[in-house]
């Protein structure tokens, strides 16, 4: 397999002058790993080898098991079966992981954060000068050469924090480095920098496991690809053996192109159709120039990577982040200076992406959760009527395909999918004109997902405007009628989902150009 055939891809690959032969020395071997959480199987008999001197991309949709696999490798999570071995020997058993969630500690300085990850925390005194040289090298490799080591991390912007996260991984001096979505919020220049760093690391004989959603990165950077789906490895091999389409097909499964939003009959008269008009909406540096119309009877999706601003548009609609320009018009009313309470009053309900932190009250019962935003509706003269609450809970439960017999159960004991249904139910109980959802099925199993999609589409057919932010292309297909793609804070295009292919959509959100 020679190097030249790799030039099939989108961009020329920067490689060393030396003819790179794909290395065969295995640094880290995953053998038949399985892991379940509760009843759900996160990893199913997974076996992969990671070789020295290689960038090995790990691909898969949300929930495919990538994060769980690397957590098992890094030792953060214990597997139920199988093992991770280091064929070269114990000296190469060091694995450093750069988390997707930032793990830097905000009120410590850059220096102290780096020092903590160097694990040289034995001994009494902090020898700040001694470690300085290694820190500077690592920081420089990550593009942070001018960073003041005493800078408090909380004063750093997110992009720099992400680079710092990578620098921390570098300084830990491990043979195997796992990078989990390291370029999520970075600009193109910064991404190139990271890639240079990665290439120099593998040239030094390290093994890099690279998790990303960005197809362009994969083909630019990776020597080998492993694709996971539903907890199993579905394909693995040198990058040359894949194309963008074959990768997408593996990730989504054979039938993915057949996935389509189910059609539900509208049951309201067209003159009552609720409409939302967004004109040149902007919010600081987060996004600008966003214009679209959404209406009842169709589900509108905003689609983009983290950092595209798409999720921020959705938050701005519900008043969680400030709007600095443009207007929002719901039916005949102009909405301005929205706060969360104000937008709720106007009939815009919100389902947050983080259900544990913001979506539900874990200690409360299902009924209590459902009524939490609609207390006025289940009370008379300020007193809550249990029967009204129960009725509301039952009717909402039916709408989201939740068993009405279980409305007294504490939400904390439900599965992720059911919790999400309750989170949606909370919003539904407020009888909104507009329902805005942020990652509606994150961490939800397939069965519950389908039920949620059906519920949302039914809602849309009942004259509710449904707007969704998602980063999952299959969700897009199953749920949305219209998709607005965004890249780097600006909208790229707006189409009916049936009029665009997955490649087009992915290209737009990865590169910002219409395909």
């Amino acid at each position: 397999m020679c190097v030249e055939s790799l030039n099939v891809v989108l961009e020329p690959i920067k490689r060393n002058e030396v003819n790179v032969v794909l290395s065969t020395e295995v640094l880290l071997s995953v053998n038949r790993i399985s892991k379940s959480f509760g009843g759900a199987k996160a990893l199913n008999d997974v076996s992969v080898d990671f070789r020295a001197g290689e960038v090995h991309a790990l691909l898969g949709e949300n929930g495919a098991g990538k994060s769980t696999l690397v957590k098992v490798i890094a030792g953060v999570v214990a597997a139920d079966a199988g093992e991770v071995t280091f064929p070269r020997g114990p000296e190469s058993a060091d694995v450093a992981m750069v988390f997707q969630e930032l793990s830097v500690i905000p009120e410590l300085s850059v220096r102290d954060n780096m020092a903590l990850s160097m694990r040289r925390t034995s001994g009494l005194l902090v020898r700040r000068e001694k470690l300085q040289e290694r820190m500077r090298t690592a920081l420089a490799s990550a593009g942070l050469q001018d960073l003041d080591l005493d800078m408090p991390v909380e004063a750093l912007p997110l992009a720099k924090r992400q680079l710092l996260e990578i620098a921390r991984g570098l300084v830990a001096d491990a043979r195997t480095l796992i990078l989990d979505e390291p370029t999520a919020t970075l600009s193109d220049i910064e991404i190139s920098r990271v890639h240079e760093v990665v290439r120099s690391l593998v040239a030094g004989g390290r093994s890099i496991v690279y998790i990303t959603h960005r197809m362009g990165e994969v083909f630019r950077l990776a020597d080998r690809i492993t694709i996971m789906r539903s907890g199993s490895v579905v394909a693995s091999g040198p990058t040359a053996g894949f194309t963008m389409d074959s990768v997408v097909t593996h990730m989504l499964g054979e039938e993915h192109t057949a996935g389509e939003a189910i059609h539900v009959q509208e049951n309201f008269s067209p003159e009552n159709r609720r409409k939302l008009h967004i004109r040149e909406l902007a919010s600081g540096h987060r996004f600008s120039d966003v214009s679209f119309n959404a209406q009842a009877g169709e589900v509108t999706a905003l689609f983009g990577q983290i950092g595209s601003g798409a999720d921020d548009v959705v938050r701005a609609l519900v008043g969680l982040i400030p709007v600095t320009a443009g207007d929002i018009q719901l039916n005949e009313t102009q909405l301005s200076a929205l706060s969360r309470p104000k937008s709720q009053k106007h009939g815009i309900a919100y389902v947050s992406a983080d259900r544990v932190l913001e979506g539900v009250f874990l200690s409360g019962s299902v009924a209590q959760n459902v009524s939490s935003g609609a207390l006025a509706g289940v009370s008379r003269l300020g007193t809550i009527r249990a029967e009204l609450e129960t009725d509301l809970a039952r009717s909402v439960a039916t709408k989201v395909a939740f068993d009405p017999a279980r409305i007294r159960v504490p939400v904390g004991s439900l599965s992720g999918g059911n919790q999400q249904k309750i989170a949606i139910g909370r919003a539904l109980a407020t009888q909104p004109d507009v329902l805005v959802l942020n990652e509606p099925t994150r961490g939800v199993d397939i069965g519950a997902r389908a039920e949620i999609y059906r519920a949302l589409r039914q809602l849309s057919a009942n004259n509710v405007i449904v707007i969704v932010y998602s980063s999952d292309i299959v969700e897009l297909r199953e749920l949305a009628d219209r998709v607005i793609t965004m890249f780097r804070g600006r909208p790229v295009s707006s189409n009916r989902t049936t009029d665009v292919t997955d490649s087009q959509i992915l290209t737009e959100i990865l590169h910002g150009a219409k395909a």
Binding site: V76, E101, L102, S103, V104, I105, P106, E107, L108, S109, D112, A115, L116, S117, R119, T121, S122, G123, L124, L125, V126, D148, D150, M151, P152, E154, A155, L156, P157, L158, A159, K160, R161, T185, S187, G284, H285, R286, I306, G307, G489
Partner: protein, 330 residues
Amino acid sequence: MVRLYWHFRTLLAWSLAVLAFIAFAVTNPAFLNAGNIYSLLQSFAVLALVATGLALVMIAGEFDLSIAGTIPLAALIAVKVGETAGIPFGVAAAIAIAAAVGVLNGWLTAHYSVPSLAVTVGTLVLTIGLGFAVAGGQIVTLTNFEPGLWLDQAIAEIISPRALIYVVLVVAAGWLMAKTWSGVKIRAVGSDRQRSSASGLPVTRVLILAFVISGLFAGVTGALQGLTLASGAPGSDEATLLQAVTAAIIGGVALTGGKGSIPGVAAGAMLLAVVGNGLSLQGTSTAIIQLINGGILLLIVIIDRPLNSIVNKSVENSMSPPQHRVPIDH
């Protein structure tokens, strides 16, 4: 500009302390008398020590109410045990008990993931009860005045050995926070406990350390106080607790944890000591002084958050041109 972030509150507090000092010195010539300076430094040292111990706990993200009970308890133990078994033993016993209370506080808080506020209410009541038990319903006195007199003698007319001991301990704590790994870990745990734990830091041990130091410092304060007063009385010393919290917060320590430095706490203690001393010299009643203390605390608490965001913003802006994104926690 980065220096500003780390030292702003400390500088501010010291400036205020110096200003207050000058103001009182100018308006009242008796302020600068050796005797008055002595008394000022006495109250400063006590407050600085207790506040420093409490500050360590606060920087770790927790709170310690029990010091209000540990101080009188330590005094009682030092005096009662000292009377029967010799003073060194008495002091050692007092300090040991105080440290044990700290271990209990830290362990319960960390191991069961319960708010230290609730735990230290329990240990506060416990220490008060133990104090009454030690006193046994009698007046507890020490017949040997010598150590007390020695501790409070005036060196160079203005400072006592006791104050010096306290100051040395404060400096040691400052050194711990600034120069050792334990200090970094305490700050890390206070700043973000989850991430610290995920990074492998021994959170339980760190919290126990913070509470032990807090207890120790309260214990030393109480023990030496007992010696110098040659007596001990059971009860709770809420006034000192109030002042210690105020001093810590003036110095930039936040209840949310991760923020603040010991020099800042010392500055806060100095400011309060100066204000208290200056006012009482002018004949202001303790009531009004306490009122002013409360007012200062309230004021600081209100301006704390806006003040912090101003400092943060100016540090952010001092970096390269305006960045894309406001730091959000994903």
